[in-house]
Structure formats: structure tokens, C-alpha cells
């Protein structure tokens, strides 16, 4: 056991592609962070749960030790935390006291800062919007070493650049959130089978008033069955226990041979998953953890895609693109027969004011592709289709989008750059992603 002078680690995002040799700076507390920020240039990193290279750089500043609660008002559900804390740690404390996260992504292992930086959305986006829309304020550390309170009404420009800004505007020290009151930790789930894409679109429209809605979609189904899916809607139960589940997890110990995931095995899985539910409509009360975080029970599930890793491709098409646009893209994906067993379709509500926030009114589809020959050429074709239909790609998942695609689909990028310049972030906070996307 010897101490290296300049420790370098091979880091990646959750998709395990790409890898980057990085020096990791890991302040043990906020005082150390303030000091280290002076000479730092690179990207702040939380739990590394973005899929691509959003949290990769030659030097990364790990905020994992900045994970303390600062204040919790259980009467009004107002919570202030250091921004490196994970959603899992928060849920452990707030659920027994009758509160829940107002917006949560599909994993509870992200940090609050990560959730803000990606302006994450959840199964309730059509009604509740993004994570940032429940953020009352945050304390930021800027490139020049100054600290600033930022909220929808204070330093609004920095707020709108930081939420969804992928860590490129400064370091989030702490955040104050308005939580959601709940009466039970159970969710009443309804799951409805849809035979085709038009079926599931109709079901989403019907479910517009449901608190949560999401569809698992079989992207390998073709022809008449194109877009067959299971739509899951959920409501917080009105009564029941307020409890957290003991965390029992499986773990994938090493990267499995990627050949195990081929078009036959995925097709079989998808078929079983679809037909497992016999009835058209099924209802059950389940704990919030399996409802929101089904994959969190399998630690390191990203290793299933093999040594080379995978890319998660998530795009949104605006309402104007309609069924036609989604069908065109889905057909292209099912023709390729490379899709994954984890494809998710979701109706999104109106966009917010944040400059680089991903969601906009319409439909979003997310699916995994394991890294293999020809994948990037195929994804470039998809990019073009997405652009043609007026859509865009989620930065938190992206590992390979071109500068042109980004700048065309995120027209606010110039305003974003201006705000970064004004708050001393230009050149100081940068990731391999931001460099690839042509941000300064």
C-alpha cells in the first residue's frame, strides 16, 4: 500500500462508455471544497449516475463527502441539504415523517446536485414538471470563489442556467426543496396493456390526470405490434404504513459477456415481460421503491451490457410530431433490431424556463444500446430523424451527440454561454461532454 503523488483513475459514467483518465479531487468537507475550488478546472461530480461523459474531465471534483442534512422542517416539508447527498438518504429520513420527493428520476442513487444539474424529470412530469420546479433556493460556489444565493427570484439568470446546466456554471453547495406530503409509502399501481403505439398514446391521453404514468415499450416488436407496451400509472395510497424497505439488493459482480444480450435474448425477454400480465388491466398496491426504482435492486446492473459498455439514447419529440413522428423513429429502431429490454416511453408536460432543460411538451423515449460496431452511425441517423421532427436528446444520457445536433436542438445555448461568462464559469467548469458540444 503506497501513496501515489498524483493518483489517476479511469472514470466513466453509468453507461461505462466512454472512459477518461481523471484526477479525482475529493474534499472531505465544505471548507476544503472552498479552498480546492480556487485552483480547480474541470467538472464537479456526484455519484456518477449520468450515463455518458457529463461528469468526466481530466480533473473531477467529487462531492460525495458533502452529504449532510442542514435543516428539515417536518411541519411544512421544507428540506435543506448539502448538495452531494443522495435521494436515497433523503427518502430514508422523510418518508417515515410523511413526506416524499416532489420529483424523482428512475434511480434514488443520484445526488441532489446531479438532479439539479440534469434538471431531472420523473413519472409525474406531465403534472409536476422537473426537479428544479420544486427547488426553493440553492447556495452556489462560483468560479471566482464567491458564494451566491440563487433561486427562481434571486439571480434568476444563474438559476435558469444551473438547472439543467450539467455542472457547467459552478458548484452547488446546498439546496432547499419543497417536499410532497404523503399519507402512505405505498403506491396504487394500475398497469394496462397496449397492443400498439397508437393504443399507448391514447392511454397516455386518458391518464393525463394520473399522478404518475410511464410505459415500458417493446422496441423490437414489428408490424402490427409496433409499439406494444405496458402503461403503468400510480397514485400515492391514501392510507397505509409510512415505511422504508430494508435494502435487499442483488449485485452483478463483473461485466458479463455482452454477447448474452443479443436480439434473440432481448426479444424473448420482451415477449415474456409483455405476456406475463394476462389481463388487459391489472391493479396492485406496491411499495414506492419497486414502483420508482425497479433497477436499484440490482447493483451494478450496467455491467450486464458487457465490458464495452452501452449508450442510453433518450430523445423527446414535441406534440406537433405526433404519433407519426414516434412511429417513424420506432420503426427505424425495430428494423435495426439492436434495441434493449429497457425502453421507456413517457408523456411530458410543458417545458420550463431553464436554458438547457431537456423536457418539452410531447413524448420521450429512452432505450439502451450496447456498444457494438456500427452503433454510432445508426445513432447519427436517429439524431437526424429526431431533429427533423423537432426533437432533442437528453444531455444526462448523451455520450456522443455532435456539436451541430446539440446547437440546433438547444437554441438557448448562446444565452447559456453568456450567463456562464458573467458568473466566471467559462473555461473553469468543463467536461468532456461540454468540450465535445462546443461550449467554452
Amino acid at each position: 500500500m503506497t501513496r501515489d503523488t498524483a493518483p489517476l483513475s479511469m472514470l466513466s459514467g453509468w453507461g461505462r462508455y466512454p472512459y477518461c483518465q481523471s484526477q479525482i479531487i475529493q474534499p472531505a468537507n465544505q471548507q476544503q471544497l472552498l479552498q480546492l475550488n480556487q485552483s480547480f478546472a474541470g467538472i464537479p461530480r456526484g455519484q456518477g449516475r449520468s450515463y455518458g461523459d457529463s461528469a468526466l474531465a481530466g480533473t473531477v471534483l467529487s462531492c460525495k463527502y458533502l452529504d449532510q442534512f442542514i435543516e428539515f422542517d417536518p411541519e411544512h416539508g421544507i428540506l435543506t441539504v448539502q448538495a452531494g447527498i443522495t435521494l436515497a438518504q433523503i427518502l430514508e429520513v422523510i418518508v417515515p415523517q410523511g413526506w416524499f420527493l416532489p420529483v424523482t428520476p428512475g434511480t434514488q442513487f443520484v445526488t441532489v446536485a446531479g438532479a439539479i444539474a440534469a434538471d431531472v424529470h420523473g413519472k409525474n412530469h406531465h403534472l409536476a414538471g422537473c426537479f428544479s420546479q420544486h427547488l426553493l433556493s440553492m447556495e452556489m460556489l462560483l468560479g471566482d470563489g464567491s458564494q451566491l444565493r440563487v433561486s427562481p427570484t434571486h439571480n434568476t439568470d444563474l438559476f435558469q442556467a444551473t438547472c439543467g446546466g450539467m455542472g457547467l456554471t459552478g458548484i452547488i453547495l446546498s439546496a432547499t426543496l419543497q417536499l410532497l406530503p404523503i399519507k402512505s409509502s405505498q403506491i396504487n399501481q394500475t398497469s394496462v396493456k397496449a397492443r400498439s403505439l397508437s393504443d399507448v398514446y391514447a392511454l397516455f391521453e386518458q391518464a393525463a390526470e394520473s399522478t404518475y404514468s410511464v410505459a415500458w415499450i417493446d422496441c423490437l416488436a414489428k408490424g402490427q405490434q409496433l409499439g406494444r407496451s405496458l402503461l403503468m400509472t400510480g397514485e400515492h395510497a391514501k392510507q397505509g404504513p409510512l415505511a422504508n424497505l430494508p435494502q435487499k439488493t442483488l449485485s452483478i459482480p463483473f461485466a458479463t459477456p455482452s454477447a448474452l444480450l443479443n436480439r434473440f435474448s432481448i426479444k424473448a425477454f420482451n415477449s415474456v415481460y409483455y405476456h406475463r400480465q394476462r389481463k388487459t388491466v391489472a391493479q396492485q398496491a406496491i411499495h414506492y421503491a419497486p414502483f420508482f426504482y425497479p433497477l436499484d435492486r440490482i447493483q451494478h446492473w450496467n455491467r450486464l451490457y458487457g465490458r464495452k459498455g452501452f449508450v442510453q439514447y433518450q430523445f423527446v419529440l414535441p406534440h406537433a410530431a405526433g404519433l407519426l413522428g414516434m412511429e417513424a423513429i420506432l420503426k427505424r429502431i425495430s428494423d435495426q433490431q439492436q434495441g434493449s429490454f429497457l425502453a421507456v416511453l413517457k408523456q411530458l408536460g410543458p417545458a420550463n424556463e431553464n436554458l438547457l432543460s431537456f423536457p418539452r411538451e410531447g413524448y420521450t423515449l429512452a432505450l439502451d444500446f450496447k456498444l457494438q460496431h456500427g452503433l454510432f452511425r445508426f445513432l447519427e441517423q436517429l439524431d437526424q430523424l429526431v431533429l427533423d421532427w423537432g426533437g432533442r436528446i437528453y444531455l444526462a444520457k448523451d455520450a456522443r451527440m455532435s456539436q451541430t445536433v446539440f446547437k440546433t436542438s438547444y437554441p438557448n445555448w448562446e444565452t447559456f454561454e453568456a450567463v456562464r461568462a458573467q458568473y466566471a464559469a467559462t473555461g473553469k467548469y468543463r467536461s468532456t461532454q461540454s468540450v465535445r458540444l462546443g461550449l467554452a
Binding site: 493518483p7 468537507n29 471548507q31
Partner: protein
């Protein structure tokens, strides 16, 4: 085990332990050097559900202040069910080899100041006639090795001290526990190559310490496989030991 005194509460392992104690609603008294960090941690543990949390800032090297802080904890907690001593710092072995000051200050902090503290704590438990005293030492104390024998000898001093304390206090129903972690991923080991199966997260070590405080005594390796590893390292014949790097 309702009332717990934690010394060196800012260390990563103690922090992880304190969070477990807090979520079980226990009453805590924290002692650490940095006053700001102390206030932050008190707020954190309060949110995480601690029955009560208070604390005092103390530099362990300031041995004259030990007594006062121990009394403060006693006033706050009343009867103390468990004490966890977790402070420490890993010196740079290469620097110590060239610098007497660095060597002595590492031994003072990890060794003699700890022994001074334990003297006061032992008196407290003796007065109470109950309780448990757990001290985090290290596997490094089991055999002097060229890569960290300065740290190792200070930890060995504490371990030997604890053996004697155990014999003395066991007669009064007090349990003494020597906790020996192996490699743990904490700010203290920043800069080492920390991949591989021998490295543990502090949360894992905390998961071993909490039940140990309830019913163990004597030496507890954390994780348990270190008992085997260290037994083997101690068995290596000295002529062979000289030939390897460890």
C-alpha cells in the same frame, strides 16, 4: 444502548456509525476538533433522527482539556452506555523517516494522546460500573511493516493498552473492544490506489461496529477476513519477511 459518546466524530468511520445511531433514535455526544464541522454534524444527525445530539470541540492533543469534555458529555448524556473512540491520522511514512517531528507528532496523536484520553474514559466507566468502550485502532498495529510502521506502532501501543484495560474493567462488567479496520475508503486514505476486494466503505465498517458495541468484547477485525490476513502476515518468518515489501 441509548447514550453514546463519540470521540473523533468527524472521521469517516465515526460519521457512518453516528448516522446509524441517529436513525435508531439514540442520544449522542460528539467530540471533534473543528467547531464548524461539529455544528454541521450535529444538525445533520438531528435531521437523521437522533434522540438528541450535542457536542464539544476538542483537540485531542490538548490533554488538559480531556477531563472537562468528558464531564460535559456525562452531564449531557447522564449514564453513558457506549463510547466510541475514532480519531486518528495517517502520517506519510516517507516523511516520518526523514523527520523526527513528524514521527513524534504522529505517535502522539494516534498513540499517547489516545492513551491519555482512555485513562479518563476508563475512570468514568469504572464509576458507572457499566458500559462499553470501543476504540478504533488498525490492522497496522499487528506487525510492523516498512510501509507504515510509524502509524502501526502508535496503534499497537493503543491495542496493548486496551488489552490491559479489558482485563481490568471486565471484572466490573465493562466491555472493552479493540476494533481493527483494514483498508477503508475515507479521506484519510485519499491518494492510495483503492480498488480491489480488500478495500471497504466506511458504511460497511459501521455495520460491523454497531452490533459489536451491543455484545462483543476483545478484538474485532473489520471486515472479519482481516483476522485471517493478519494472522498469516504475523506468521511469516522474519528472514523471509525482510525480503518482501509490505
Amino acid at each position: 444502548m441509548q447514550n453514546i459518546l463519540i470521540i473523533g466524530a468527524g472521521s469517516a468511520i465515526a460519521k457512518a456509525c453516528a448516522r446509524r445511531f441517529a436513525s435508531a433514535g439514540r442520544h449522542l455526544f460528539l467530540v471533534m476538533r473543528d467547531e464548524t464541522a461539529l455544528a454541521e454534524q450535529i444538525a445533520d444527525l438531528h435531521c437523521r433522527g437522533a434522540g438528541s445530539v450535542a457536542g464539544a470541540a476538542l483537540d485531542i492533543l490538548d490533554t488538559k482539556k480531556h477531563d472537562q469534555v468528558i464531564r460535559q458529555a456525562q452531564v449531557q448524556l447522564g449514564k453513558i452506555d457506549a463510547i466510541l473512540v475514532a480519531h486518528g491520522s495517517l502520517p506519510d511514512q516517507a516523511v516520518c523517516e526523514q523527520n523526527i517531528e513528524a514521527t513524534l507528532s504522529a505517535i502522539t496523536l494516534n498513540g499517547t494522546a489516545t492513551v491519555a484520553l482512555l485513562t479518563g474514559l476508563a475512570q468514568l466507566l469504572e464509576q458507572q460500573q457499566s458500559g462499553c468502550l470501543a476504540v478504533i485502532t488498525s490492522v497496522a498495529g499487528d506487525r510492523g511493516r516498512e510501509s507504515n510502521y510509524v502509524y502501526g506502532c502508535a496503534k499497537a501501543m493503543v491495542s496493548t493498552f486496551l488489552q490491559g484495560l479489558d482485563q481490568r474493567l471486565s471484572k466490573q462488567g465493562i466491555r472493552v473492544i479493540d476494533i481493527k479496520p483494514g483498508f477503508v475508503i475515507t479521506p484519510m486514505t485519499e491518494g492510495f490506489n483503492r480498488s480491489g476486494p480488500l478495500w471497504s466503505q466506511p458504511e460497511k465498517i459501521a455495520g460491523i461496529i454497531e452490533p459489536a458495541l451491543l455484545h462483543k468484547r476483545g478484538t474485532v477485525y473489520a471486515p472479519g477476513f482481516w483476522r485471517m490476513i493478519m494472522a498469516i502476515i504475523c506468521l511469516i518468518p522474519t528472514p523471509l519477511f525482510r525480503k518482501i515489501r509490505l
